[in-house]
Each structure stands twice: as structure tokens, then as C-alpha cells.
Symmetry: C2
Subunit: 276 residues, 2 copies
């Protein structure tokens, strides 16, 4: 199976036109004449306060592309905040065409990825997004995402995810799915977690929450991705991030399996939910 048409929608915040040009150029550079069409929905460029259009505009664009049988994959444009606002309204509108597609994104998009996986969607993956092109060295991240979307290249995979039944989430995003109908059943999954721009005490509290949930305690183990740009607090926390994760794994009895090559950076690799 080869992906020939990728649809990009922005369920959180908008992107600029330069992302389109630069990502399209990467596809050309990688695949030449057989490059996939990357169709950026006009909704990606709307602005409504914090968001790429109001809730209904974002939901409508998502449902439109997800329902289009000519589109093989849905690629979320970027993170930020806002995906959770369209979860409850879009899920009931997604049918078989949506289930057949590959879905890719991370960070805030995890609200939708998690909900899709909870709803039984088989082709959901954590991985780089178009807006990653703006990072220093971001071409490598976008190339990796395209490799996965177009050819399911195993080179794009997080190494452990190539052989483990894994999922990957931003810690805060997963925390905010717990107890909702959108929380996926992660029994026997390896749970890869990453975080960005939070204080130590918030990371600690989020891990209290995640690891205290009886459903999460049924995971096979946790792997720690990168936790970057930790925010300085007015008082030192006293524990580093790896100590915090080890603490909550010990309290909860969840095995700490090691690290995962994921995070808010250009090294971030693809983790297909439920196994490659």
C-alpha cells in the first residue's frame, strides 16, 4: 500500500503558508515525480482567538478530509491547544473512510489520536507534524513523517516501538483524557511519555494522576521520552525528572522499562499505536 494523497488539518492552532511550501518541497525532494499530494485544508490558515478557526470550522474540516475516500492519511498540522474541543463533536461523524486512513501527529493532537484509538481506529500513530519544519533541522523530522506516511518505512519508527505494542503521549494530554470516554484501553501496552515546558511540580502531579488510574496500571510498562524546557520554579523541586518517573512507577507498580526516542524536537520518532 502506498499513500498518494495526504490531507492536513489543524484542530488546534493555525500554521503559516511557509510551512506548506517547505513541507511540499521536502516531498518533492524525497519522491520526485511519485511524490504524494499534500493537501492543506484552507482551515489550517484560519484564526479565531487562540484557534485555527472556531470549533465548528475545525471540526468540519477534520470530518471533511477524514470522510474523503481519495485521501489516504490525515496529518495534523501542529500542536498548541484545541484538539480536545472537537473530539466529542467529530467522533460520531467519522465513518469507515476515516477508519481506513493513517493518522499522524503528537502533542496536543494526542487528544484526538487517543480518542480515535479508544474508538478502535487501527492506524493511529504518534510522530512529527508539518509545523516541525520550522524547528532547527526540522527537515529530518518532516522527512521521517513522510517516510512513515508514504511508505510505512520502519526507519521512521521509535526503535522499541518496532517490536513492542506501544503508544506515545504527551503527559498532560493523556492526563486530561483519563476518566473520559476518550481514554484508550492501554492494557499490556508500553506507554511512552514525553513533556515540554512544564514545572517539575506539574510533571510530578501529572504522573501522580496518570499512574494512580487503575486502568493505566494495567500497562506493560512506561518508557520515558524527552522532557524538555522544564520551567524554573520559585522553589527547587528536589527531584529530577527521571527520579520523579521512577518514584511514580515504584508507587504504582508499573515497570519502568527505560527511555523512548520521542519528544518535542527533531529527533521525535514514529510510534504506531498498538504496534508496528
Amino acid at each position: 500500500m502506498k499513500t498518494t494523497r495526504i490531507g492536513v488539518v489543524a484542530p488546534s492552532c493555525p500554521i503559516d503558508g511557509d510551512v506548506v511550501d517547505r513541507v511540499t518541497a521536502r516531498a518533492q525532494a524525497l519522491y520526485g515525480e511519485s511524490a504524494p499530494e499534500i493537501r492543506f485544508h484552507p482551515q489550517c490558515f484560519l484564526t479565531h482567538g487562540h484557534f485555527a478557526g472556531d470549533d465548528e470550522a475545525r471540526a468540519k474540516a477534520l470530518v471533511e478530509y477524514a470522510s474523503d475516500p481519495e485521501i489516504d492519511a490525515i496529518w495534523f498540522a501542529r500542536g498548541g491547544y484545541g484538539s480536545c474541543r472537537v473530539v466529542e463533536t467529530t467522533l460520531p461523524r467519522l465513518g469507515d473512510a476515516a477508519r481506513a486512513k493513517q493518522w499522524l501527529g503528537y502533542s496536543d493532537a494526542g487528544s484526538l489520536l487517543g480518542a480515535l484509538y479508544a474508538a478502535g481506529f487501527a492506524n493511529v500513530a504518534h510522530g512529527p507534524m508539518p509545523a516541525d519544519i520550522r524547528r532547527d533541522g526540522g527537515e529530518a523530522a518532516v522527512d521521517r513523517a513522510l517516510d512513515w506516511l508514504v511508505e510505512r518505512s520502519t526507519d521512521a519508527l521509535e526503535p522499541n516501538a518496532a517490536r513492542e505494542r506501544a503508544v506515545a503521549f504527551n503527559m498532560t494530554i493523556l492526563s486530561n483524557l483519563i476518566g473520559t470516554p476518550f481514554q484508550p484501553d492501554l492494557t499490556d501496552h508500553v506507554l511512552m511519555l514525553e513533556e515540554v515546558s512544564e514545572h517539575h511540580y506539574r510533571i510530578d502531579r501529572t504522573l501522580f494522576h496518570i499512574t494512580s488510574d487503575p486502568a493505566i496500571r494495567r500497562v506493560a510498562g512506561i518508557r520515558l521520552g524527552r522532557v524538555s524546557d522544564v520551567i524554573e520554579n520559585d522553589r527547587s523541586f528536589g527531584y529530577e525528572v527521571d527520579e520523579i518517573v521512577a518514584h511514580w512507577c515504584a508507587v504504582s507498580g508499573i515497570p519502568l522499562l527505560g527511555t523512548a526516542n520521542i519528544g518535542h524536537d527533531v529527533e521525535n520518532r514514529v510510534v504506531p499505536f498498538g504496534g508496528a
Copy 2:
């Protein structure tokens, strides 16, 4: 019933000695010779990184005072962060003497208050804490807490809580209890929510989480307390806090009942969990 001895412990961060002096002076001023003894556990002054002593020191002090039949009430010293770290280890160690006591606090202490209420403790209340004495005009907050602890004065109550079956939580703290064994059953309760020092988008995400939980959707309604010191974001959110709350109430079908006189300030009033 008259409270004669109040035990103060600090399950999150430490307090300074001036809080002891100033709070003790308020009790003397209010009650003279019949003033309650306010016993500050030495643990309140420990420091261990972010915390008032390590997890075991904080848990041990809490269990010690909660188990002491000579102490009528447990008053949490202050907020900050750390109560959730001692919930799972202290709950199994709390017996009948602990259940008989009045418990008072708010903010981070909500992790413990919520867990105690979930465990069937009958005398759990949201309200001012000793460290509030350091706020400008904080004497009024401490006097109100003492009025409740010593005499169950109805003057101390949040007006709606005097006639409604209510609970009160910091939004973020309640969010981090959802799905855990420490989440209380709030069916048919009025849920009062307050927040401090968060961005609009975080408040929005937290309310997505709270109102998306099917158990929370069984509340009688939500009342909005004060949301103070909202942090400026690099992009304007586009909705004010009252619009955010109205949005999630509309989505979830939870009635928005109005405001609540609670918050991180000296006006913060007492809300006995489950009714006055």
C-alpha cells in the same frame, strides 16, 4: 460540640513561624480564655526540596494528628503542591479517630479532602488555611476558618453552600483526581470550582477534562468561584473565563448555576462537603 484542639499539618509546602504567632493571636483575640489550642506539628517547618519534609515525614505527621483522639480538627497549613503524594500511603492508616474529626483546607489540600470524602469521611470542608494570614487582610480569612472550626458558625459559610449539597475544588486539583480511586462521587452535588495562576487555554483544557467525565456529568450543577491571576499567553485565547465555563457546561449538559464565593483570596468562604 465545641472544638478545643486543632491540629495543623502541612502535606505540601512548609510555613514560617510568623504564621503560628499570628494565627494563635487571632484565636486569642476572638475567644480569649476559651480559645482553642492550635497545635502546629513540627513537620510544618521541615523542608525537603519543594516540600515540608519528605513524603514519609508528611504522611507520618498527618496520620499522627489524625489518629490523636485529643485533637478535634485537622487544619491544613497551606497550599502549594504535594498533598497528592501522601494520599495513597495515608488513607489506609486513618481510622475512626480520623473520621470523627473536622477537616479544613483548600487548593492543593483538595487532593486529600477529595480522597477523604471519597472514603466516606463526613466532616470535610473547603475553607481558609493558616497561611492565608499572610495575605493582605488575611485576618478575616483566618477568623472565618476559626469560626467554622470552633463553633461551626454559619456566618463562615459560602451562602449557597448553606442550603445546597455542595463541594468546592480547585479545578486543576479535581482534574488530577478524575479516574483515580480518590475521585469522590459527586452525584447530585453542586460543584464549586475556583482557579489561580493558570493560562486561559489550561483552564479550558481542565474544564474539558472535568466536564467530559461521565461521573462528573451527574453533578447537580456547577458554580464558578473566582479565577484569579490568569496568566497572559503569547496568543490571546478569544474567550473569557465565564465564557469558557459556559461553553463546557453547554457541551456537557451540566447546569451552570451561577457564582460561588470561593477563591485564592481573603473572601474565600467555607464549603462543607455534602452540605452544611
